[in-house]
Amino acid sequence: MPRRPEPDTAQGAAAAVTPTAAPLLQVHDLQVHYPLRGTFLHRLLGREAGEVRAVDGVSFEVARGEVLGLVGESGSGKTTLGRALLRLVEPTAGSIRLEGRELVGLSEGAFRPLRQRLQMVFQDPHASLSPGMNLLSAIGHPLVIHGLARDRGELRQRVAQALERVGLVPVERFLTKYPGDLSGGQKQRAVLARAIILGPELLVADEPVSMLDMSVRAKILELMLELKAELGLTYLYITHDLATAKFFCDRIAIMYLGRIVEIGPAQAIYQRPRHPYTQALLRAVPEPDPSRGVARDLPRGEIPDAVSPPLGCSFHPRCARAFEPCGWERRDVATMLESRWATMAEEDWRAERALVGDLGALAEPGEVARLVPGRDASTADLLGFLQRLRREGADPFWQGVGELAVEDGAVTVRFAPAVDPGLVVDGPVEVACLLYGRTPHADHTVPDA
């Protein structure tokens, strides 16, 4: 079994891969926005129907021969990013340069020859091969498209070579097989054969093993490592599985809601995760070690709707260590109240609910929340209630709350101005969190994970 090359020096994996001259791939401020299919009225009145900012300004570089991991949960935009690199989805803005050559904006015709250098492996092996083509025509099709095979003989020979390389032997048996006759692992090998037959340099692998059985995952990962070593490939490994990422990647970028929140050498990130989200991910991954109980102090709630992400740092509603500038806003009032009421007895929460009027008004983002008191409640009751909650201060939400005041019949909650955290260098890692790179407030020391 191949041993993962252990980085000889302890100070971090950066040295493990000596990046050669110019980086193979440079992505700068890439954005991919999907327009929301607005209703007919939107189109009629020309009102903007809103859009999903799947990738919201991402920059990174990949050196030749390196494996960069894009790790994130669903909705983080990692798959969209992968597909944007191969122009399967048109980027809205930003630049992608392959060895200095700009790809965004190239016509399909001009881009087609470059596709030989960029290939992709998809997540679902069962759906990556057309059910109507046997392996010979499926794996050989790229050669036909780019006209690299003079005749059927050479085509068959090069396909046989590719099948041999990915371990689908004896080759004669597999050449005329249809995808329907193969197992998951075998299909993924065929997909890999199709990807390497054009001799690419960069392979974007979108969750290549997540749909395979445990016992097959290791075999496919091992095959990919062998292919990288032998063909000098560079991988962009997209996954939600932190365990395989740690083993497989040299550098890792953690993504959340369309942005990179932390990027750096894999060893550095796993040894000392800096961003609260990365820390939470590493605590949450179930490890096969009974001494470790189930993770307890976890972020609250779930990944918000990407159509209108939270202001400032989009992780602030769930982050236990969010403080004043992190972007607390109007919608968080409703969340705070609702999560509070979930734990209370019926009479108590009904009494508090009666104080607060319509929660619907709090559904839009905004830096000032205007709470109209319930029918038979006064602004004073409502103000008193909010101040009592603030004194309890159980929820980090209150760190972001500035002034509580009564203004023309309603209680207004003003929030501190939101600051959008950019990537800041912190040791070998860059992290997008207000806890870092600024003179941190006295009471926000940066505890180790």
Partner: protein
């Protein structure tokens, strides 16, 4: 907390109405173009034989057929929106009166047929789906296919052979016996409703007896389609994850089937009902000929034979608007029943 809001029914209604406009426009344009495919202009086509050349020219000028096509198109649209379809050329009868009088007869027949189709189709479909692959299922499916395969006029003919002279119980032509037609005050044009309003039980029974055969004949046709649709949907919902989850919670089999499976199986039926109404209107045409039911279909055939394009154009436009109106109505019912529709 990703708190999604259910957009209210009102804003959904606005968007749905917005979608109707292009549909109506397309239909009206199609009707207009169809009419212009015919040789010459409506006036000469209808009255070519009877009037002299200059009379024809004068009538054509009066009707505005000598104006450029675009102007005619715009005036046609203007009239259609105001539901003014002009007068028929052959008997100079305002098309709108044709529509109201005969239209009501067709409406009554179609509604009765829809009732028959729903009762026959939905119940049998639910039974067949529930008792899958048992003799009952096979019989129900065969009934569904047969009711769909038998053309309306053939079933009408068979029923006439069976019920007509031999039993005389169920009359096979006309909407009511002459006496009743004359006596009944027409308030809504729907004779069943009128007789109810008039409290005239004899008229009611007479009208109903006339309605049975045509309604059953036309109803069976669409019933077959509903049966097949409901059965296929039920097979899927019975295997639905939420049905298995309900059983896992110990919910009784009967309420699992009725409250979970049946309800979800019927939602698609409502959406298809809009299309089925179009099928019914087509079928009404045939039924009216078979049972010489004085509906608008019969009128259309009559005017078509006399090449009276204005009347034909008016009637077809009425049909198109009815179909669009019904499809919007069906969407509302759908949005009311299925919350997900309001949400998207």
């Amino acid at each position: 907390m990703a708190k999604a809001q259910t957009t209210s029914l009102r804003s959904y209604a606005l968007t749905r109405l917005g979608l109707v406009l292009p549909m109506v426009l397309i239909l009206l344009t199609m009707v207009f173009v169809l009419m212009r495919v015919a040789p010459g202009d409506p006036i000469s086509a209808a009255l070519g034989g009877h009037l002299s050349a200059e009379q024809l020219a004068e009538r054509r000028h009066a009707a505005g057929y000598d104006r450029p096509l675009v102007v005619q198109y715009l005036s046609y649209l203007g009239d259609a929106v105001r539901l003014d379809f002009g007068n028929s050329v052959t008997d100079n009868r305002p098309v709108t009166s044709i529509i109201t009088q005969n239209g009501a007869a067709t409406l009554e027949l179609t509604l009765a047929a829809l009732l028959v189709a729903l009762v026959f189709g939905v119940t049998l479909g639910l039974v067949a789906g529930r008792l899958r692959d048992t003799p009952v299922d096979v019989a129900a499916r065969l009934a569904g296919v047969l009711s769909y395969a038998a053309p309306v006029f053939f079933v009408g003919l068979l029923l006439q052979l069976l019920f007509g002279p031999m039993l005389g119980l169920l009359p096979t032509s006309g909407r009511a016996s002459p006496g009743v037609t004359f006596a009944l005050p027409t308030r809504t044009g729907l004779m069943v409703v009128d007789s109810l309003l008039a409290g005239d039980t004899y008229a009611l029974s007479d009208v109903l007896r006339h309605l049975v055969l045509p309604a059953v004949t036309l109803g069976l046709l669409t019933g077959g389609v509903f049966l097949r649709l409901v059965r296929v949907n039920l097979l899927q919902t019975l295997r639905g994850d939420y049905v298995e989850a309900a059983r896992a919670r110990g919910i009784g089999e009967r309420s699992v089937v009725v409250r979970h499976a049946f309800k979800n199986a019927l939602v698609p039926v409502i959406t298809v009902m809009g299309l089925q109404v179009a099928l019914l209107l087509g079928g009404a045409l045939l039924t009216e000929q078979t049972f010489n039911w004085p509906g608008i279909g019969a009128q259309l055939v009559h005017y078509l034979n006399n090449r009276d394009y204005i009347a034909v154009q008016g009637i077809i436009t009425f049909f198109a608007l009815v179909v669009v109106a019904i499809s919007v109505l069906i969407d509302f019912v759908n949005a009311w029943i299925d919350p997900r529709v309001r949400y998207t």
